[in-house]
């Protein structure tokens, strides 16, 4: 008997390889997974999404895209390895 888990993910393609049981995909920058520094409203919203989806029955390997939009190009530059 395992333990229920839910994973946040920042890289959809990586998650498609590893196939965790249930994942929530966020287009946030690396190192700002739940949102920007001081953005407590987004942090709390994301964590509550984890709780909400943890309670739902979804097919194995589901990746749910969360509707958060990042404010600048930091993530895109990170994905190009032009920013840290």
């Amino acid at each position: 008997m395992g333990i229920a888990t839910i994973s946040l993910t920042l890289v959809r393609e990586m998650t498609e390889l590893v196939k965790p049981s249930k994942a929530l995909y966020l287009k946030h920058p690396f190192g700002l997974t739940l949102g920007g520094v001081g953005d407590s409203a987004t942090h709390e919203a994301v964590l509550k999404e984890c709780l909400r989806y943890a309670a739902q029955t979804l097919p194995a390997g589901s990746i749910v895209e969360l509707p958060y939009v990042w404010k600048d190009d930091l993530r895109e530059r990170q994905l190009r390895k032009e920013a840290h």
């Binding site: 229920a4 994973s7 942090h43 029955t57």
Partner: protein
């Protein structure tokens, strides 16, 4: 070129010439919650590289093979006691607000609001750069699973960085 290809090339050039991404053929079967979320004990597993600066060894961010060990973080720890070590993101930014990558204080808040049953006495921290994950898969992760079970955890939230 997408991020996975770009990162694979980078790791092959700098670290491991035969590096490739770990992958599984089939997804892990979801384990349904045995009770309502409001009654669950919840733990975090973070890959932010969080560790207790005064009491625990820093994650090895210099080794080309990464670091597949983990650290145990008590749920009530002062955030000032936590340091971050990770080569893949700007830890200075996250250190200003740990909720960005390791939201244990926020989880404590949700527990006081009754959104979850309670918080596990311990959370578990990895450093996300592990290009050779065999020991992680076969040793560290099962050990954390055993500790989570020992803690009576009903739900684990995995938070990457």
């Amino acid at each position: 070129m997408n991020f996975l290809d770009r990162e694979k090339e980078f790791i092959r050039a700098k670290v491991l010439p035969n590096f490739d991404w770990a992958r599984f053929d089939l997804p892990t079967e979801p384990m349904p919650l045995a009770k309502a979320v409001q009654a669950c004990r919840v733990a975090l597993v973070t890959t932010s590289g969080a560790y207790l600066a005064a009491d625990q060894e820093r994650f090895d961010t210099k080794s080309p093979l990464g670091d597949d060990s983990f650290r145990v973080i008590p749920k009530g720890i002062d955030p000032g006691a936590i340091a971050l070590a990770h080569p893949g993101y700007d830890t200075r930014r996250a250190k200003e607000d740990l909720d960005t990558v390791f939201p244990y204080q926020l989880l404590n808040k949700l527990a006081t609001q009754g959104m979850i049953g309670d918080v596990s006495p311990r959370h578990y921290s990895f450093m996300g750069f592990v290009p050779s994950p065999e020991r992680l898969i076969w040793r560290s992760a099962p050990e954390v699973g055993r500790l989570l079970r020992e803690d009576g955890v009903d739900l684990v939230i995995l938070v990457p960085s």
